[in-house]
Amino acid sequence: MPANPKYLSPSVWSRFAKISAALLGGYLVSAMSHVALGHWVDRGIVAITASFSTYLLWIALMIWAFLARNGWKIWGIYLLLLLLLSLAAYIGKLTTGTA
């Protein structure tokens, strides 16, 4: 059977929010997580790990976005995460001096 439509997002905007949060937001958070982590631990290790973990984390964040009840709220969470990760990257850069 096809999925029961009563559980799917009805409005175009709500769907747009979810799909964009999954594709764009998920990617940005996944990429930024690796950048931030790389400023705190050995960046070579993070770089080579990113060759597969970037995709896996992105997939997980895509699924999370689709499961969310509100597409705009998940965008808010992803933007907040991006802000925190950027902050972590910045502090890490200042303290460890990796450039």
Partner: protein, 529 residues
């Protein structure tokens, strides 16, 4: 899982799957044949390769062949073993001598036939093995579109299989042995899709992830380069293991003639089972000439055994090396593992055959997925117009996918009987026949017709492949076997089996549609009229 989550994941699985299905099928079908890329090429050319997985052992002789046609002195010269075929890759850097002849001031790439000493360009040496291999990442579509298309197909495939497993999660155990081919068509497709999808999941997961890594690696390198390396690509590449050392030219020629084979022999003696796949000669014939050997330990000795050694010529001193026996760094391991598990090159022909079969199983998963999509929407409450449209979509999808079997079999015959097979010949024949077959089957009334006749034609053409080889070369499988042409034999046997199975399925397994599936087909026939 709660109902809401289940339905959402179900929907994302369906949408991502149906969008990528055709592209993914092409990738898996061509990709399955790519496990035999070298064998297909050797079959086409009736070649036998005795030294496998490494460069030939007489490189001084090979270099002398190249030197007949090219000035090597003052250049960086690189020899690479890419595949188990007679050709090895030769790269010549631009001459570092500012007084060099005009033709030596450009870099060059060509292949060297290690048996005959002939050189040929990429275009000249293009063969069916290369075509099918490149088709599996859409390299025929102009770069970078084809690469990105295949890369994102792989990525969304990863999404589809992860959501697919989650949707099926609760039923994994209870439905493991469920296969109900004789109830109704819908359950046949569903059971085939879930059973083969579950069994194939680890295989498909590996190929989806590594495939995305190969084709769209900018996804992870771009943010790292900007955010972690401050735009310093060279530093990042050094960390990722892509960097190469550079040695300056002194501009003074070496006085005595030299040989490189002793260096390779020494390295092989010190590192037993080390297969040398790359030889770089920096500043050929210069007093600052360096020789870099790269390679891997045989996989039965060590799975992650990449190594490298650089000699300085004038005093035979080792200036840098990475011992493959002790090279256990994390980054080397990850890089090598991602490559190896995709190529399936670490356990001989047996693994290639298993991978080939799992690749075809994945093709079945894709097609049954499309059929589930179709049949699940073939209900009374859905308007006939919509149902007709769905059926048309599925019919075109099936036409594109299923006609690959006979078209590929036919192409094997064509490259054997054609007097000259260029890249253009393979492109024209393969794509034109594929298009014609797709149009033909798209215009027929039913998917059942496409299914039956692609299998019958694919089966007959498949059986004709070894026949075409025999008639054309005058040599038959027992000759190939006796003379150890195992690649040629492998492809002959492969097509015999594939052809026989296709015919068997078409003639005996599709023969008696039961009443339930007949009703569905009749209904669809009515709809499509």
């Amino acid at each position: 899982m709660e109902k809401r989550g289940h339905n959402i994941l179900f929907h994302t699985h369906t949408v991502s799957g149906i969008v990528i299905s055709v592209a993914l099928y092409v990738i898996f079908f061509a990709g399955s044949f790519s496990f035999f890329r070298d064998a297909v090429t050797n079959w086409q050319l009736s070649h036998k390769v005795t030294v496998n997985d490494q460069l030939p052992l007489d490189l001084d002789r090979q270099l002398a062949q190249i030197a007949l046609k090219h000035t090597l002195t003052g250049r960086d010269v690189e020899l690479n073993h890419y595949y188990n075929v007679r050709n090895i890759g030769v790269s010549l850097g631009a001459s570092k001598d500012s007084l060099a002849r005009v033709e030596d001031q450009n870099a060059a790439f060509f292949y060297l036939d290690t048996d005959t000493g002939d050189t040929n360009t990429y275009m000249e040496s293009y063969a069916l093995g290369e075509f099918l291999y490149r088709l599996h990442f859409f390299a025929q579509i102009p770069y970078p579109i084809g690469y990105y298309l295949s890369g994102f197909t792989a990525f969304f495939f990863l999404f589809a299989i992860v959501t697919g497993i989650l949707v099926h999660w609760k039923k994994i155990v209870s439905h493991f042995y469920v296969f109900r081919p004789w109830t109704k068509l819908k359950t046949l497709w569903t059971d085939a899709h879930t059973a083969l999808g579950l069994i194939g999941f680890p295989f498909q997961f590996v190929y989806a992830l590594t495939g995305a890594f190969f084709m769209i690696n900018g996804i992870f390198t771009f943010p790292l380069e900007l955010g972690l390396y401050d735009g310093d690509e060279a530093k990042m590449n050094a960390d990722l293991g892509y960097a190469q050392a550079v040695y300056d030219s002194h501009g003074i020629p070496l006085e005595n003639p030299f040989r490189i084979d002793p260096f390779l022999e020494q390295t092989r003696a010190e590192w037993p089972n080390f297969n040398i796949t790359g030889v770089q000669l920096h500043n050929y014939g210069d007093t600052n000439m360096h020789l870099t050997l790269t390679g891997k330990l045989a996989p039965n000795v060590k799975f992650n055994g990449t190594g490298q050694r650089t000699y300085r010529f004038r005093d035979r001193k080792i200036v840098s090396e990475t011992d493959p026996r002790t090279n256990n760094t994390y980054s080397a391991g990850v890089a090598n593992t991602l490559l190896r598990i995709h190529l399936g090159d670490y356990a001989g022909t047996a693994l290639r055959v298993i991978s080939f079969l799992l690749g075809l199983v994945s093709c079945v998963v894709i097609l049954s997925g499309v059929m589930v999509w179709l049949v699940a929407r073939d209900k009374q409450n859905i308007p006939p117009k919509r149902r007709r449209f769905n059926y048309l979509v599925a019919k075109v999808y099936m036409a594109i996918c299923l006609s690959m079997l006979p078209v590929t079999a036919l192409e094997f015959i064509l490259v054997k009987v054609a007097p000259r097979t260029t890249m253009e010949f393979i492109y024209t024949t393969y794509f034109c026949i594929w298009l014609a077959a797709t149009l033909f089957f798209s215009l027929r009334h039913t998917i059942a017709f496409t299914n039956r006749w692609t299998l019958i034609s694919g089966g007959i053409l498949g059986l004709l492949v070894p026949l075409a080889n025999g008639l054309h070369s005058g040599k038959w499988p027992w000759f190939w076997y006796a003379e150890s042409y195992f690649d040629v034999l492998l492809i002959d046997v492969l097509w015999t089996i594939l052809g026989a199975i296709s015919l068997w399925v078409a003639l005996f397994k599709l023969g008696k549609p039961n009443s339930a599936s007949k009703r569905v087909m009749a209904g669809q026939r009515k709809l499509s009229q």
